[in-house]
Amino acid sequence: MDALIIDSTEDTPQVILDPKENNFILSERSLPENAIEFYKPIFEWLNKYKNDPNKLTTFNFKLDYFNTASAKQITKILLFLENLAINHEVKVLWSYQKDDLDMKSSGTRFAKLIKVKIDLVEI
């Protein structure tokens, strides 16, 4: 399956969904006005990916900031990974800058709410 790569802008994150390299990354800032529209191609891609996923999927969230509209879409990605983990190996990393209590507590929040293990990584 072809990788989905979306370059970052000043209000949307960089997206890398690359099964060949087992590289799944969401990084930088996510504060689009219309989060549903931005995340739509990501969910379309993921829905195809789930038909023939890697043995191991390693998904790394490396966000500096996200707005509430994006929070809901990130929750949906995590729920997707939770589902994928039923029959496949899934590793979720939540990376945050040292001193960034905000992103750290978001990671902690998701780790409590999602039934797939989320490793918090200080970078």
């Binding site: 989060a35 549903i36 905000d102």
Partner: protein, 374 residues
């Protein structure tokens, strides 16, 4: 969680004053290159959003560039930490005219020379001004701070009007120099005098500046809100805040949610350009007060009231639980609404939200919201 002591009445007063104008935009503080660039694109974007003609836009833009360069050139790194000594930039649209005001500290020793230059420029007619520009360009050695008055001549030429100016004493050595320009939107070749009206308008800016200093207001934006203006405003405030990362991020967070509320929910706007509203931010002893004001439909007022009152009543644990619950409530999940904005604002500010809603007419009310972050 504590309660904040911000003065919402004062905020409302400011809203009311500014509502009469279609656009006004004030920045007060340090003028870095990045901040200056964003001030320019924010103003430019808004000229476009209010449907200004390209001729007027160009003239306003070039005067803004010269004015901002004047401030950055004369900005003294040693003095800008004092709140009454930071530069100020103001653009307003009143009826058929734009007004641009710049203010910066200058050494008192330069007042006589500067006054001479300004009076000379004001005494010249259009053609003479063009000639004078060439003269100055050829004769004077360019000082290391650039200029030699060329910027002033350029501004006078572009505005088509005389330059209003004033000095206010700040210390024994320094004065504050105000430069105030009027740009007519209608075609009018004759240069107007710095008449009573312009001087009155400069006087009102000086009065406003006093209040801004007292309240330590960093920025006021009264204009059209869309995603572009939001990004510009964020970048300006980010550049301004040298405070520690967590406070900065919380201010950033709240600002995004408050401004996107205007972008998505406010009334009286258009889909193409955005919604009218006002935003201003002040800082005192590391307490940041963020204020927004916008129109809401009368039919939505009750629902809005209920939502805010509800999140205000919750303690931190309940707020977190409510946030989590809303995060998984996919019944509310559209391009307009995630159901999380107000909860997030309340959580991140750790203070109760202050608001007022006042009826404007049969269709709309004015909604003012204030959040304190410390």
């Amino acid at each position: 969680m504590s309660s904040i002591t911000g003065d919402l009445d004062y905020a409302l007063e400011l809203f009311r004053d500014m509502q009469r104008e279609n656009l006004s935009y004030i920045y007060r503080g340090i003028f870095s290159q990045k901040i200056t660039d964003n001030i320019l694109s924010l103003a430019e974007g808004n000229l476009t959003n209010v449907g200004e003609s390209s001729t007027v836009k160009k003239r306003v833009f070039s005067i803004m560039v010269e004015g901002l360069q004047n401030i950055t050139r004369h900005q003294d790194e040693n003095l800008i930490n004092e709140k009454d000594r930071t530069g100020i930039f103001v653009i307003q649209r009143k009826g058929d005219n734009y007004f641009i005001t710049t203010g910066n500290l200058i050494d008192k020793n330069h007042i006589t020379k500067l006054t001479g230059q300004l009076n000379k420029i004001n005494s010249l007619e259009k053609d003479e001004l063009k000639k004078y520009y060439k003269e100055v360009l050829n004769e004077t050695e360019i000082s290391k701070k650039g200029g030699a008055g060329l910027g002033l001549i350029e501004m006078a030429r572009k505005s088509g009007n005389k330059l209003a100016f004033d000095f206010t004493e700040v210390t024994d050595t320094y004065s504050f120099f105000y430069l105030h320009l009027e740009i007519s939107r209608s075609k009018d070749d004759a240069r107007k005098d710095t008449d009573k009206e312009v001087n009155e308008s400069l006087k009102s800016i000086k009065g406003l500046h006093k209040i801004l200093n007292k309240e330590n207001i960093l920025l006021i934006f009264n204009g059209i809100f869309n995603q572009d203006s939001l990004i510009n405003l964020l970048t300006i405030i980010e550049g301004h805040m040298s405070t520690k990362i967590n406070l900065r991020k919380r201010v950033f967070n709240i600002m995004v949610e408050m401004l996107q509320n205007i972008v998505k929910h406010a009334g009286k706007g258009t889909v193409e350009s955005g919604n009218p509203g006002i935003f201003f931010i002040s800082e005192k002893n590391n307490l940041y007060l963020l204020n927004t004001g916008n129109y809401v439909l009368n039919s939505k007022v009750e629902e809005l009231r209920k939502k805010i009152d509800y999140v205000n009543e919750l303690n931190e644990t309940d707020l977190n639980n409510f946030y989590n619950k809303s995060l998984f409530n996919f019944e509310i999940d559209s391009s307009k609404e995630s159901g999380l904005g107000l909860i997030e604002i309340r959580l991140k500010s750790q203070n109760k939200l202050k608001y007022t809603i006042s009826k404007v007419d049969e269709q709309f009310s004015f909604f003012a919201l204030q959040t304190g972050v410390n």
